[in-house]
């Protein structure tokens, strides 16, 4: 069932999967092990009140390579957590198909759950049991033999640096320790794919760094596939690839670098003695067709290789007798990317764009629009 077949084709044709692999479906079918996660036309709808239907995920096509760290970005309510629930076979998709770690989520949900680990956004441990007991029970739930379970529990406690806290009741551990303990729990059965839903939300910066350190070790030494949702753009920056989800659809996908490059250009900002006149000069000097903005900050424009343009612009302005007070060139940030695709900043709480928001970064015409697809 592919209710959004048209959208699917469009998404596949335009998403920059080519950065890592050729997006040809024949190869996908022939060699599934290449992908740790592969979905086609994944849909999840809930029956809402008054007979309405809420579409949490609408026709998602996703390919995540083995060993890749993939970040999922999206505003609240974009469908990230629902997608994760579908991928780890906790919820059944309404339509479409998904293969995770080589197992189909619809026909072999138990197999999928055995091969994946999950760190929920609001994870829970049994506060009355010790760290060790929590892990041991979990290992047994996953079918590990007694002796094997004990060995794994000890190994994982050491791995996340909680070996000395093994006999402490969980309620006495700090938030960061609990998160690490949950990470250890998710890794007990050595999952091939680890899903992490906002793994560092609510942690202090030090604990956040620690969690990411463990994740990086996991990826580098064991080739684990990590699928992360996050609100922190600097964390997404460290991932191999990221996808931006909005209203249940993947609106952009690619490496952080490619996504930023697709936005185009660096933002060059000039503060001069006479900004209005400077705008005219800059408009004539810069490549034709680029919009030059004037606001309280000064004169700004988006141009590739912004820093190379600063001397030229300055020289032109000097020639017209306009004093340049400051000049800067800023490469696009992931927040710019996010804003471009969703129409709001990732830090903005509201679902809709507020008038006070800064102008979104307009992509330079013809500059790398391959990575963009607007949500309807």
């Amino acid at each position: 069932m592919r209710p959004h077949a048209g959208d699917d084709a469009h998404t596949r044709a335009t998403t920059p999967t080519a950065v890592r692999t050729g997006p040809d479906d024949a190869r996908t079918a022939a060699a599934p092990p290449v992908y740790a996660i592969s979905t086609r036309g994944l849909v999840k709808s809930y029956a809402g009140p008054d007979g309405s239907t809420t579409h949490a995920v609408r026709g998602l096509d996703l390919d995540v390579l083995r060993g890749e760290t993939y970040a999922f970005l999206g505003p609240n309510g974009a469908g990230k957590s629902t997608t994760l629930a579908l991928l780890c076979a906790l919820a059944r998709p309404t339509a479409g198909q998904a293969t995770v770690a080589g197992a189909d989520v619809l026909s072999r949900p138990d197999r999928v759950r055995r091969l994946v680990g999950m760190l929920f956004q609001h994870s829970a441990l049994d506060p009355d049991l010790t760290a060790e007991q929590n892990l041991y029970i979990h290992a047994r739930l996953y079918g590990l033999r007694r002796r094997h379970a004990r060995v794994r529990v000890t190994e994982m406690l050491e791995a996340v640096g909680l070996g000395d806290r093994r006999r402490f009741p969980v309620r006495t551990l700090s938030g960061g320790m609990r998160r690490r303990l949950e990470l250890a729990r998710g890794l007990l059965h050595a999952p091939e794919v680890l899903f992490l839903d906002e793994p560092t939300t609510g942690l202090d910066p030090h604990a956040r760094v620690q969690v990411w350190e463990y994740l990086r070790v996991l990826r580098d030494r064991h080739g684990s596939t990590l699928f992360v949702t996050t609100h922190y753009l600097e964390e997404a920056e460290h991932c191999d690839r990221l996808g931006i989800l909005d209203h249940g659809r993947l609106v952009a996908q690619g490496t952080p670098h490619a996504l930023k490059a697709a936005i185009g250009a660096d933002r060059v900002l000039l503060r001069t003695g006479d900004d209005a006149a400077a705008r005219q000069v800059v408009g004539r000097t810069a490549p034709s067709g680029l919009p030059v903005n004037l606001d309280s900050e000064g004169v700004s424009l988006r141009v590739p290789h912004g820093s190379a343009w600063i001397p030229r612009l300055c020289a032109a302005l000097e020639a017209h007798g306009i004093a340049v007070h400051a000049a800067s060139a800023t490469p696009p940030t992931l927040d710019d990317v996010f804003f471009h695709h969703t129409g709001r900043s990732i830090h903005a709480p509201g679902p809709h764009r507020t008038p006070g928001d800064p102008t979104p970064a307009d992509p330079a015409p013809g500059a790398g629009t391959a990575a963009t697809e607007e949500a309807p």
Partner: protein, 296 residues
């Protein structure tokens, strides 16, 4: 900060499982022993909680003990032995056993709801076993914990004049297991049908007292008004108490008491009564498992 060191990745599930997963071909459903390990894990969790909270467990025993010795001791002087066949304390004993057993059994349902709210249930659901297995594990854990609590009170049998006869104790323990199972299953059925703990607590508060009074633990059911007899005949606690009484009468004829459960004037045989209690528990567990395993 120390650099994290992760163990070698050969530490997966059982090696055989891994080999099978590589093939990617159709395999049989997860082996039964994995489901059994999950059941064992849940029982283990309940036992660890029991052992980890000795104060809590002791407190739960205090109420029945107080009833037995304070209420029982006080009323014993007022109630002549001839009206019950035995002294009031001895009469109260089966009821107090049932009271001891029902509290931890009902807590299993409360915990299912709190686990759902805290997110722990979702962690359990992520385990690669069927949902029915998880419910079965919770039920088994609750049954065992309740029985352990009941067995502690059973140790007081001598204080009310019962002999420490191994066969009698085994018989009573068997009834306690049966009653624990059925009450746990009913509690779980209630828990999977409700999603708010407040409603669960409200229902319990509403129902618990009548259930105890209609159990025949405090006074003979024959003394109840006519309209209350069908209620008593539908009360699982009444079956538990009656089975305990009849078990005692079987081994110690001098302790025989008045008739308990009656189905429109007819007293069912001992085994049938036990079978009804068991069937009620099994039906409740199956229904609960059915409701629980509904896909989202």
């Amino acid at each position: 900060m120390t650099a994290p060191a992760l163990p070698a990745s050969d530490a997966s599930g059982t090696p055989a499982d891994r080999g099978a997963s590589r093939g990617g071909a159709r395999e049989p459903r997860p082996p039964l022993r994995h489901e059994l390990r999950a059941v064992h894990a849940l029982i283990h969790r309940d036992l660890l909680r029991l052992a980890g909270q000795p104060t809590h467990s002791a407190l739960m025993l205090i109420q029945p003990v107080l009833y037995l010795f304070v209420l029982g001791g006080g009323l014993a002087a007022l109630i002549p032995n001839s009206s019950l066949g035995v002294g009031y304390q001895a009469y109260l004993f089966p009821g107090m056993l049932m009271m001891t057993v029902q509290a931890p059994a009902i807590i299993v349902g409360v915990r299912l709801i709190t686990d759902r709210q805290s997110g722990y249930l979702r962690e359990l659901l992520m385990a690669p076993v069927s949902r029915s297995t998880l419910l079965l594990g919770s039920c088994a854990g609750g049954t065992i914990v309740s029985t352990v609590q009941g067995a502690v009170l059973l140790g007081l049998a001598g204080t009310v004049g019962l002999p420490y006869d191994p066969l009698l104790l085994a018989l009573l323990l068997g009834v306690l297991i049966l009653a624990s199972f059925t009450i746990t299953a009913l509690s779980l059925l209630l828990a999977v049908s409700l999603d708010r703990p407040e409603i669960f607590h409200m229902l319990l508060g509403l129902v618990m007292m009548p259930l105890l009074f209609l159990s025949g633990g405090f006074f003979p059911l024959g003394n109840l008004p006519g309209w209350a007899h069908p209620l008593a005949a539908a009360n699982p606690l009444a079956y538990g108490v009656d089975l305990l009484r009849r078990g005692i009468a079987l081994r110690v004829p001098g302790q025989a008491t008045a008739v308990g459960i009656e189905w429109s004037g007819w007293q069912p045989p001992l085994l049938l009564e036990g079978a009804v209690l068991l069937a009620g528990g099994v039906a409740a567990l199956l229904w609960a498992a059915h409701r629980f395993s509904r896909p989202e």
